[in-house]
Symmetry: C2
Subunit: 230 residues, 2 copies
DNA sequence: ACCTGAACACCGTTCAAGT
DNA sequence: ACCTGAACACCGTTCAAGT
């Protein structure tokens, strides 16, 4: 242990904030955000926990940085979508593209929402959406309402209250539904109709992507109408 | 300290889960969810932290319970709204009533979203919304899409990405905006128009309630149209 | 310049023990 | 039946110290 150097010891590239963030993202991607601790992150980088603080002020800065890295990925992906004459079609494409990136980083929605101030990347992204509204002829006032109405959906996610597994399949949830059946006439009726129409669909009949697009189109169409009637 | 009983010692009502939850809610209301720790909660109840575990399995059960208490408040408030022939008007009233309750418990959105399974109260609430859609003539299929489209807005909240202070007023955010001005042509343009139209409005010109209702009406109107054209 | 060891002030939670 | 003390296995973070 003492005199032995590690076999083929790597030159030990010094850490950089960049490397810390990349490792943090990889760790969160693979094992979930709840297992992203400073100690674990340091371990992943082959270093003691305290070393991180030389490159980063605190854990919040790590989380801020993770969001920035991710948003720059989204922004560069989104900027490749060529602008057309139809603001709605372009915005739809951009938002669904952003969503694809977020789906690869399940920790992102929670972390983004937990930030106190929007980072530069997020601001830049919403500036681009605002630009699309403006190009489509929206007043600043309506475009402003529109951004609020989109909310996180504009970035490609909605924090689902009933998670996909809940609608069917999840045992705990189903057990509760059955137990409360008399108090939940409408939900029970809905479940029965579904299982009647398609007996095999009890598991996973809620498609996240479909529901996301339904809600998105509802809002975009509504905004379109609000704009045209203005 | 030893032989002396406390002056006018209260009979020391034994804890109950109910009292634990009430204290937890009061604590979270007053000092924020981040200061709700088992130790602090116990202290508030004049007891040691470990005593709580006699009444409650763990902290998750405390959080679950807080949501249930709150939802029963919402459900009882909402059930007082008399049903009318216009599903949209009734639903709007219910959702805005739920929102009023949530505004008194700022911790609620975050805690609700962090629950793994919806509690009974939340399920009951959404069953009632589903009932409204059905009474309005919606198919189960459309009503189901509708619930997803509403998401947390159906319960009266949206997790705002840009918090109200951000749009203007917040010094950090404004500093960033100025620094990035050239990269954010649309946001800067919007800010300029606003401050031109109403020089005093730089602070707090985003009204949460207005934005919430705008988004809500956008969705409800869209659903109404989807239903009528079906 | 970059990294570390020891230590601090917290967490949630367990378990055996008290009354 | 209800509560507690001591202890465990974690956190994030500081600070003085190493190379």
């Amino acid at each position: 242990m003492a005199a032995r150097t590690d076999t083929a010891a790597e030159p030990r590239i010094p850490l950089r904030k960049e490397r810390v963030l990349a490792a943090a993202i990889a760790l969160a991607d693979e094992t979930g955000i709840e297992s992203l601790t400073m100690r674990r992150l340091a371990h992943e980088l082959g270093v003691e926990a305290m070393s991180l603080y030389y490159h980063v002020a605190n854990k919040e800065e790590v989380l801020d940085g993770m969001v920035e890295v991710l948003m720059s990925e989204i922004n560069s992906e989104v900027s490749q979508i060529e602008a057309g004459t139809d603001w709605k079609a372009v915005m739809r494409q951009r938002i669904l593209a952003a969503r694809q990136v977020l789906l690869r980083h399940r920790w992102a929605p929670g972390v983004i929402e937990s930030r106190i101030n929007m980072g530069e990347g997020v601001v830049r992204y919403f500036d681009s959406l605002l630009g699309l509204f403006r190009a489509g002829g929206f007043s600043y006032d309506l475009a402003h309402h529109a951004l609020h109405a989109l909310g996180s959906r504009g970035l490609g996610f909605t924090q689902e209250l009933f998670d996909p597994a809940d609608d069917a399949g999840d045992e705990d949830a189903m057990a509760m539904l059955e137990q409360m059946a008399d108090q939940l006439p409408n939900l029970v009726g809905m479940m029965m109709e579904i299982s009647h129409d398609d007996p095999d669909s009890t598991l996973g009949w809620c498609d996240d992507q479909t529901e996301f697009e339904f809600g998105l189109d509802l809002i975009l169409d509504g905004l379109d109408r609000a704009h045209e009637s203005a």
